[in-house]
Amino acid sequence: MQTLPHMDLIAKERDRVLQRTARVASMSFLTVSVICLSLPGAVHTMTLLLCFPLYLIIAVMQFQVGRSRSLGWVVPAFVAGIVAILLIAGTPGGPSQAGLSAAAQLASASLACLAIVLTTTLTRRLVLLASFIGVAGITVVALEPFQKAIPTLGLLTVGWILTALIGFWISSGVPQAVRRIASIGRAHRAERQASEIEAQRRQGARLLHDTVLATLTLLAHSGVGVSADAMRQQAGDDARLLRQLRLGATPTPQASGDYSLSTPVSETVLGTTLESVKQRFGRMGLEVRWHGTGQVLLPSDVLDAFLLALAECLENVRRHSGVTDAHVTITEDDTTVRAMITDSGVGFVLDDVDSASLGFKESVVARLKEVGGQARLFSTPGSGTTVVLEVPR
């Protein structure tokens, strides 16, 4: 729906180009004209003094044409121009060559350049035609005593046709450019959607990223408490998962160390994946003991969130509790699956610990909340910590 360019906006942009071009063009030739007019002997001094205010008016109008679409700036410029030409032609003793040059620059170049903004609509074209007839007619007739009518008319016609052509040319060039840009916009939108899908795919590979993150975090602490061999094996496993992800699959870590590409099953057995978490923490020196049910079916997104939260809690135990084993008890009822993670470590005063520093809020609470679950934390210094995670079935 949005692929159609906004024609009014584009018309405005197009007009802006035309207006600015017309402003610079008409004002530069006006400057040349006024220089010629000011040369000694070009016109009578009285004529010169009378012409200056008219040139000033034209200059103001031409400047305004550069910023306004209104025809109200264009027409007065033509009127003032015609009066100036009449004054030059009627100067006592007649204009010299320089005076004629000034008139020519004014009529065939400076005023003609306003034609650039008079090509876009029918009204404007009519104004263009009327202005040309007015300016050209009066110029030819007024200067007829000093120069032949045909060359004067020839020069005027060439000047006005060239500038009108510039106007037409730009007006037709802009929609072309806009159409091409619109097609680029469509391509860009497709690119955006593809990017979105790819990001979702990678973000969606949560279980994978969770183990990768855990390994990276271990490495960041120079692998404290983990044997080099276990570290190396874990790194190899994770690198393989990442490679599969890069090659377009969404791999899920499995218990035995061989990896299967994820299949679009809506429910996954909890037990096998719990085993992979246990193994991973085992390598890092935290013994995880499972209690309770091992065969729980959960929708895959709920399972992901559940396992991530669980692993995050175990990581906290490993890093902060000061003990090397943790107990995980899984229970279930009709509506809820519950995991209780208990350690007998140092514990902490809840209020003393900024929960954000444990990554608890972001990684545990937020993840569970997304799938409709919740987390509760109990701890006292010296008597360990218990976390209860709940997700709906």
Partner: protein, 417 residues
């Protein structure tokens, strides 16, 4: 394989306030100045127009050559100058048509040499007449011939070239012509006709390029209109892919033993920052809406539009409302600025307290306030008001130099979806 730490840190993308310009590859590729693609975006068309104009000018000049034929003491150099100019024009037009990109340096040099020779020959032909302005023909047309390369060479090249031609003609006139008030006007006229067309052409092409770039920027921002309620932005997948790859390389180098354990502090800290970045990127996109991406990805909006949308409510707007809101911001930034005043637009989106009108009970109301400083109320034109009306019903107020719009916007209740 030895592990080499990634060269770039991508954290800047989401932490620390405003992200750096997150623009797609397409956007970057296309908005560079003077790129070949810009030619195909309409400047090529303008170039054809310039070719037509230069050709017309050449024909006009040739007519003059014929009428002046008897005045030349020796018309051969003048005719030779014209012959050369026609060859240069024809050759350049052909070369530009064949070439898909910029004119190579050597070709541009050849072109300039050709023009210089034309000027020299023409001046030589009329030297003894002592009135360059009156009799020069091809030398004047040569100045305008620079229009041909307007779209295929950087503007600075053309500015230098046209200045040199202008200065050369001015010097020649000063040396050759015994200046009097009587013969001064033709010299000025000749000089202005040699230089001004190219100057005007430069103004035109720079305005045209600005239009193309602005339009491109707008169209790229518009691609967000159909995005889902929350989106990750153009760079997210690329960044994630890069982080994943960096992690893969690091882990792989550990697994195959090329990186030794225990890790050196440098690699350990790389692992730490990779983990942090990856974590941030994995949660990215939960709160960012299309509007946030539209603003941050746009060169134009990014500079002057700020957004407060704590509840990510912008995501609830339908495509028509989004279009209206984006156009409003756009028009405020582009259109209504006073000269020299840097205008800024602040968009604030919050839940609305007003009751939803009868008949729209399934909708919820959100309040969008657009405050714009540096905008003149009466320069907001009809198309802007139309754009605002697409978003919802609005009231506007003015204080000091800022205009404030309060838009009441009805959207589908997210709870129903």
């Amino acid at each position: 394989m030895t592990y080499a730490p990634p060269e770039e840190n991508t954290l800047g993308v989401i932490v620390g306030g405003r992200p750096r310009h997150a623009k797609s590859a397409t956007g970057r590729r296309l908005t560079g100045d003077d790129t070949p693609r810009l030619r195909s975006l309409g400047t090529g068309y303008v170039g054809v127009g310039a070719a037509v104009l230069v050709s017309l000018r050449a024909i006009y000049g040739l007519v003059w050559l014929v009428t002046q034929w008897d005045l030349y003491p020796n018309p051969i150099p003048a005719a030779a100058a014209w012959l050369l100019l026609v060859v240069v024009i024809a050759g350049t037009i052909t070369a530009i048509q064949l070439m898909s990109s910029q004119l190579p340096h050597w070709m541009f040099a050849l072109f300039l040499t050709g023009l210089a020779s034309v000027v020299a020959l023409d001046v030589y032909a009329i030297w003894s007449l002592d009135n360059i302005g009156e009799y020069a023909t091809s030398a004047i047309a040569a100045g305008m011939t620079l229009l041909l390369v307007l779209t295929v060479r950087p503007s600075t090249d053309i500015i230098v070239a046209v200045s040199v031609i202008g200065a050369a003609l001015a010097v020649v006139i000063a040396v050759n012509v015994p200046l009097t008030p009587a013969n001064f006007a033709p010299q000025i006229t000749a000089l202005s006709f040699a230089v001004l067309p190219t100057v005007i052409g430069l103004v035109l092409i720079s305005n045209f390029r600005r239009l193309v770039q602005g339009e491109l920027d707008r169209v790229l921002a518009q691609s967000t209109l159909t995005a889902p309620r929350f989106a990750v932005g153009m760079m997210a997948s690329g960044e994630l892919a890069r982080l994943d790859l960096a992690a893969e390389k690091l882990l792989d180098s550990l697994a195959n033993g090329s990186t030794k354990l225990p890790l050196s502090p440098k690699i350990a800290s790389t692992a730490a920052s990779l983990a942090t970045e990856l974590r941030l990127h994995l949660i990215e996109g939960r709160r960012a809406t299309w509007l946030y991406h539209a603003i941050t990805e746009s060169d134009l909006l990014g500079k002057s539009v700020t957004l407060t949308d704590k509840g990510s409510l912008a995501g609830l707007l339908d495509p028509v409302q989004r279009d209206g809101l984006l156009s409003t911001a756009w028009l405020f930034v582009v259109d209504t600025a006073k000269r020299g005043v840097k205008n800024s637009v602040h968009i604030m989106i919050a839940p609305s307290t007003t009751a939803v009108a009868p008949g729209f009970e399934d909708k919820v109301a959100i309040g969008i306030s657009v405050t714009s400083t540096g905008v003149i109320r009466n320069r907001i034109d009809a198309s802007t008001w139309q754009a605002i009306a697409k978003v919802g019903s609005y009231t506007d107020s003015t204080e000091d130099s800022s205009v404030r719009l309060d838009i009441e916007c009805l959207v589908d209740n997210p709870a129903d979806q």
